[in-house]
């Protein structure tokens, strides 16, 4: 009996010494300070109103993957800044007193209702492994920004080609008179009108067709009035009308355009009302590409295909995005923030303490249609990932997944 007790005691002592050694190792690993050589340290300033960190000094290679442009300056989101601070790459100052912000302050003041501690933990977990993580809304804004830039360039090029010596008024009066004479004298054919138009126009310069048109979109929207079709003023018949004010070449360039336009049938006064403003065509050459672009330009008509598509979609178009979502990309040295492409996963972060997942199921199903959904369940600091993807039973039977 005494020998067994001695063995147990030795084992216990051995365990105790092991434990003390483990505690010591753990302490030594964690008691080090977050330090960086001043020459290699990036510096940022916390903007309390935006709750973002503006970067003033950049060092290292991580800036091609992190950050977003706000007011033409690079800014970081709080979770990105916290991750870089813990990697000893970034020091953040308070812009009011120029004293660095500590980790304590960062955790207490940067987190809010939208960005919670579990988002920070999930972001850090994946970023440490090398994944590229971008906020989902931020992606859409950047892509929009890119789109606007390219269209602006296109518009400017068209302006440069424009002929400045167009006699706007002459052509306008021709149109108006031609229409009036057409109504009064039914014998006038459309060909006569076109001839008169052709006399004044230079066929080479397409801008003559859309006289007085301002290609600056903002001015167009603000200054030019659209025709108001007041239902009370007149009676309507729906008949297919070929607009006479569109040039001959229009039909050659645009195929199968079918615009149901309602025609006024009543008196001259109402007709005058119709043309009380400057006679300027609604359509531009750049709009005459497809059915959809024409309808969007006219904006009074919804294309039937669009209506059908809306009716068919049973899922809500945009779910109530109460929680922050991320796009996850695999590590890629050619990654561009402005054109990242389709993400590998869409990440949703959920609280492991919640008992009910039914509220989030709609969100998950919405995203599943495009990409696989990764759900991060965070429970008191522990992060677990679950992957959701759309499942088609018949398709899976034909092509079973390779395990």
């Amino acid at each position: 009996m005494a020998r067994i007790d001695l063995i147990e005691l030795l084992r216990h002592n051995h365990r105790v010494t092991d434990l003390e050694r483990l505690y010591e190792e753990s302490y030594n690993l964690r008691c080090k300070r977050y330090v960086c050589i001043k020459k290699q340290l990036s510096i940022g300033y916390w903007k309390s109103k935006l709750n973002m960190i503006e970067i003033k000094v950049m060092h290292g290679k991580c800036w091609s993957l992190l950050g977003t442009i706000v007011n033409s300056k690079l800014h970081l989101y709080p979770e990105e800044a916290l991750f870089l601070m813990q990697c000893s790459i970034l020091q953040v100052f308070n812009e009011e007193d120029n004293i660095p912000i500590s980790m304590e302050e960062a955790y207490n003041f940067w987190l809010n209702d939208q960005l919670t501690l579990k988002h920070v933990q999930t972001f850090s977990y994946l970023a440490r492994l090398g994944f590229i993580i971008r906020r989902h809304q931020q992606q859409q804004q950047e892509q929009q920004h890119e789109r606007i830039k390219t269209t602006a360039v296109g518009i400017k090029r068209k302006r440069d080609e424009m002929d400045e010596h167009i006699s706007i008024l002459n052509i306008n009066t021709n149109y108006h008179e031609a229409f009036l004479t057409r109504n009064n004298d039914t014998n006038n054919s459309s060909s006569q009108i076109e001839e008169s138009m052709n006399d004044e126009m230079n066929d080479k310069n397409e801008r003559h067709w859309f006289v007085g048109y301002d290609y600056d979109e903002t001015n167009l929207i603000n200054n030019k009035k659209r025709l108001n079709w007041s239902i009370d003023d007149c009676s309507w018949t729906k008949s297919r009308v070929l607009p006479h004010w569109l040039p001959k070449q229009f039909y050659e360039k645009v195929m199968d355009v079918d615009i149901p336009i309602c025609q006024y049938l009543k008196t001259k006064t109402q007709f005058d009302l119709l043309y009380s403003t400057n006679d300027e065509p609604l359509m531009r050459l750049s709009d005459c590409k497809t059915h959809q672009t024409i309808c969007e330009r006219l904006s009074s008509f919804i294309h039937s295909d669009t209506l059908q598509a809306q009716a068919q979609s049973s899922l809500p178009r945009t779910p109530s995005l109460s929680s922050l979502t991320y796009d996850i990309y695999y590590p890629n040295k050619h990654f561009r923030k402005t054109l990242p492409g389709i993400p590998a996963y869409r990440l949703l972060v959920l609280d492991g303490n919640e008992n009910d997942l039914s509220n989030q199921l709609d969100e998950i199903m919405f995203y599943c249609s495009n990409v696989s959904v990764l759900v991060a369940l965070v429970h008191n600091g522990d992060v677990c990932f679950y992957c959701f993807s759309s499942f088609d039973a018949s398709k899976t039977l034909r092509d079973p997944p390779k395990i």
Binding site: S48, E96, N380, G381
Partner: protein, 328 residues
Amino acid sequence: MSSRIRCYLIEKQYGLIFNIDDIRLLREKYRIIGCFTGSSVAFPRQNNELSIPLELSIEECFVLLNQKLIQLFELKTFSPITDQNRLTYLKHLELDCQQQMINSINSRINDMLSKRQFILENSQMLSTIEQDEEEEEESVNNLLTKFDSTFVQILNTNNSWLNCQQSLTIKEKLILLNEFKNRNKKSSLDPHTHTLVEIPIESYRQHELIPILDILSDLSLINNNDKKLRCHVFQDLWIKGYFISNGQKFGGDFLVYTNDPHICHSTFIIHCIQRTTTANQIPLISLIAKGRLASNVNKTSVIATYKQSITIDDDEKIDYLSINWTGI
């Protein structure tokens, strides 16, 4: 306990502790495990060994508050730094910079002295210098005056140099001092760009701290019966001497260890369930799942609930029921 551990309450659900000494004390003395959530300084690109801050669950905060081991605070408003604190910060920066310089010089001296044999053997000066002892001493003193006063001060306090002086001849000292001088010329690093800057963990500013005295009443958790039950179950198990951690990995509320988690695996998976009413029924399927899962991972599944109160003393006492799948 005279000075309590400072803990910050985040989102009214989690406590964060930033001081590593406090974290060590909580683990070694008070059996509080928590969960590290920050990146490690030494190995920032891995998830196995994380570092500060330590996240405490609401149950751990509840127990520690009741035992008066921690002070729980909430920070709401960001206060700018006062002049006094700014001076403290600047002094700290200056001291840090000086200390780094001293350490750097000391390490260079130690490095050189460790290789002195090699330096002396390869030096050509030994054969060329032919002076009297007095002249040699004078030349050593002259050479020392050419150095920076800080360097001389550090040299005179360096233990390795003081120990070596007894064994070194004056010629050898001259050679080594010349070597110091040459090395200093070559490595002329700008101290301003090459100092180490610390990213602070604790704040220099004094923010308004709102103390939390009792979690259940201050955070209106009295009406949340599930959280209240979990807090009481945690407290009960902690008082009995167990180590308790998060049970999410096994589908439970807590994992209970008989000894430190560094040494042994967990023994029990605790599920906190309210007493059955017509609304809160425990489906049999979930009981089966709990039992089978626990047996497959060599643990015991335990259901914890409030005792049916017969007397006032029985209020908030916990009853436990274990489930074992026999395999039939």
